[in-house]
């Protein structure tokens, strides 16, 4: 016990490790906040510096970047309606309307506090319930992953207030874009049209920047004459009364974040959307209607996505399975440092587990400090006149897309998706499902084929297996309920109920 505490406090007492945790958190927040720079990208790039470092130094930096990056994505979602990462898509739904009313300071302050609460809940779950939750995640069959991914895409389409039919179309389009390249199982060409350059596929980061960054810039051209709203950032730290009011929702959303984050493949993005959906269904009297700047619409996704960080560490450390794209990168880094994430890591090097938990707690404390400071500078961004701001964002988007692979072709993809995204948005299509489809497409393809193989290629048996376990039945019911809740019958029933 005392030894565990000693390792827990190691990064708190060593000045260099303390500095690295702070630097990682700071860098994570600001990189995550730059439109187009995702937390995956931040971790991927910054982690490469650590390969020659001592493992403890690398782990502290990684912990800070991960927590800071997930939180940082919310800032650009609130201020510019461009999520820094898929996990912040839901945050923009209510955060951006708040910023448009000049309440960016309130939104960022509240987001910071609930992110820290979510972070602590996630880390506590990691420390206390890691083995149990990992065993639960093991029960998920490929068909469950397939349904979870479909559910995630449906949720984005349904939650954003648009047409579910268009949401499904957009999700399917995203899945097809993710299929471009070589089939990972058979190496057959899919949608490459005979071009060798297409075999590597299309970068989802370039698509994300195009759909969210470039398309938003093109949309904003219709509002050039609108005067920028002055952001009130005089009071950033939310009052205790406000925090206490949202605390129960934040705790519930954090619990969702932990469970979803612990499911391999389902990270902060799905957790945030599920938490948003939960808030929409359970909060009877939000501060404003959802989608128009409800504080609850910020509290739920931001608590969940930071709680999902702790959750994502659970399968990573105990099973060696990545919880999301970022933990996949981290697993690669751990291997380079000579560690083998999985059950043996907990047995052979338990001290590392407590060291990581301690570093995450420390990074979460730094998140509170850095999150509540420097907001005035960020708020100035939205006060910049649009004729100056829009070209600057465009340049930033171009650099972000180029930096993924140092390839100008990604910049052309970004532009193409941006113009396409402009027309999609204009005609009432949501672009969120396209991105989610792109991210989850490979997982869905793999899960579908595994599930079909386990059903011996018989469609009837394949369909029957969805009801073969209580877990699958529950996910299927949730999926069907999401579809049904978007129909006129449901609205009529709710209207008469």
């Amino acid at each position: 016990m005392m030894q565990a505490l000693e390792f827990f406090l190691m990064s708190w007492t060593d000045p260099y490790l303390l500095f690295l945790t702070a630097a990682g958190t700071f860098a994570g927040i600001y990189i995550g906040a730059i439109p187009g720079l995702s937390v995956t990208m931040a971790v991927s790039i910054l982690i490469s510096f650590t390969f020659k470092w001592h493992v403890n130094e690398a782990l502290t930096l990684i912990s800070g970047i991960f927590l800071g990056g997930v939180y940082g994505g919310s800032r650009s979602a609130i201020l510019l309606n461009i999520p820094g990462a898929p996990a912040a898509i839901a945050t923009g739904l209510d955060g951006y309307p708040m910023a448009k009313r000049g309440e960016a300071g309130t939104a960022i302050g509240l987001t910071t506090v609930v992110s820290v609460i979510g972070g602590f809940v996630g880390i506590a779950a990691l420390a206390v319930a890691a083995p149990a939750l990992s065993e639960f995640a093991l029960k998920f069959a490929p068909r469950d992953y397939l349904m979870l991914a479909i559910w995630g895409i449906l949720l984005v389409g349904a939650l954003s207030g648009g047409s579910l039919v268009k949401g499904i179309f957009a999700g399917a389009l995203g899945i097809l874009i993710s299929m471009v390249g070589l089939d990972p199982m058979t190496a057959e060409h899919r949608f490459t049209f005979g071009h060798v350059q297409m075999t590597a596929g299309i970068s989802y980061v370039a698509a994300m920047i195009g759909f969210f960054g470039v398309a938003e810039v093109l949309m904003q051209l219709h509002e050039l004459k609108t005067r920028a709203v002055r952001q009130d950032v005089s009071r950033i730290v939310p009052s205790w009364a406000r925090v206490r009011k949202h605390l129960p929702l934040s705790m519930r959303a954090s619990a969702i974040g932990v469970v979803v984050g612990a499911l391999p493949g389902a990270g902060g993005d799905i957790a945030a959307l599920m938490a948003y959906d939960h808030a929409k269904r359970t909060v009877k009297n939000p501060t404003r209607p959802f989608g128009q700047g409800a504080e609850e619409g910020l509290v739920a996704p931001e608590s969940a996505n930071n709680a999902a960080v702790g959750g994502a560490y659970i399968p990573m450390l105990t099973l060696g399975i990545p919880g999301d794209a970022v933990t996949a990168v981290i697993i690669g880094a751990l291997y380079i440092h000579g560690l083998k994430p999985g059950p043996m890591l907990m047995i052979e090097t338990p001290h590392l587990f407590w060291f990581i938990v301690g570093s995450l707690v420390l990074a979460n404390c730094f998140l509170l400090i850095f999150g509540l400071t420097g907001i005035k500078l960020f708020a100035k961004i939205v006060e910049t006149p649009k004729p100056i701001l829009l070209p600057l964002i465009l340049v930033l988007c171009a650099v972000g897309a180029y930096a993924v692979n140092n390839n100008p072709v990604d910049v052309y993809w970004m532009l193409g998706f941006g113009i396409f995204g402009y027309f999609l948005k204009l005609y009432g299509f949501q672009v969120g499902p396209v991105i989610l489809g792109m991210i989850l497409g490979p997982l869905m393809d793999k899960s579908y084929r595994q599930a079909m193989i386990s059903a011996e290629g018989k469609p009837a048996q394949f369909a029957a297996e969805f009801l073969s376990s209580p877990l699958s039945a529950v996910i299927l019911a949730a999926l069907l309920l999401t579809i049904f809740s978007q129909t006129a019958w449901w609205r009529r029933w709710r209207g008469t109920a």
């Binding site: 790039i45 648009g162 047409s163 579910l164 039919v165 268009k166 499904i168 179309f169 399917a172 389009l173 899945i175 097809l176 299929m179 058979t186 057959e188 060409h189 899919r190 949608f191 093109l218 051209l221 219709h222 050039l224 609108t226 006149p385 649009k386 004729p387 100056i388 829009l390 070209p391 600057l392 465009l394 340049v395 930033l396 171009a398 650099v399 180029y402 930096a403 140092n406 100008p408 910049v411 052309y412 532009l415 113009i419 948005k425 204009l426 005609y427 009432g428 393809d445 579908y448 084929r449 079909m452 193989i453 290629g457 469609p459 394949f462 978007q486 129909t487 006129a488 609205r491 009529r492």
Partner: protein
């Protein structure tokens, strides 16, 4: 600001079509059919676990949903534009001159990036597009452009080791 049409599937009256919306929906449906045909070309119906089966399912979903929203658009009737032809309304509301000008500037910027390099192409793009969008103060435009580009260049090139395009024309000039 143009209002994106909400598809009201409940009993509320649906908004009128935007100019070009029906054509866009039809184009998406055609795209879906093309993708379904391409997906079928991967491995046909040889097996339910073949490389082309899941793309076919996704493309078929696009065809079905594309047909549904195209039909919904068709039922909503013509766009509500008084005294304007469809094409004229499309040009005025969807692709106004400033939109076309800016989009062309972005396309030129993308083409110039590998030739002029990041700094040269970005500087020219920033100056040109700021002026195009109505920022009249040249000194401010130049100042903001220089400071921003210096910051981006410093962060990406120095800290992240991202090699930004140097520009083939400039390299040839100084060779």
């Amino acid at each position: 600001m143009l209002a994106a049409p909400d598809a009201q599937e409940g009993g509320e009256p649906e908004p009128a079509l935007l100019p070009g919306e029906l054509a866009f929906c039809a184009l998406l449906l055609l795209l879906s059919l093309f993708l379904l045909w391409q997906a079928h070309g991967i491995s046909g119906f040889e097996s339910l676990t073949s490389a082309g089966m899941f793309p076919m399912l996704a493309a078929a979903t696009m065809v079905v949903t594309g047909a549904v929203f195209s039909w919904q658009s068709l039922r909503r009737g013509p766009s509500n534009v008084s005294g304007q032809g469809n094409w004229q309304a499309f040009v005025v509301q969807i692709t106004p001159p400033i939109w076309v000008g800016f989009t062309l500037a972005v396309c030129l910027y993308m083409l110039a990036l590998p030739r002029l390099g990041f700094l040269g192409a970005s500087f020219l793009f920033l100056l040109m597009s700021m002026r195009l969008l109505g920022s009249q103060r040249w000194l401010l435009n130049v100042g903001v452009s220089v400071v921003t580009l210096a910051a981006i260049y410093g962060v990406f090139q120095t800290i992240f080791s991202v090699v930004l395009p140097k520009g083939s024309w400039l390299q040839n000039l100084f060779r």
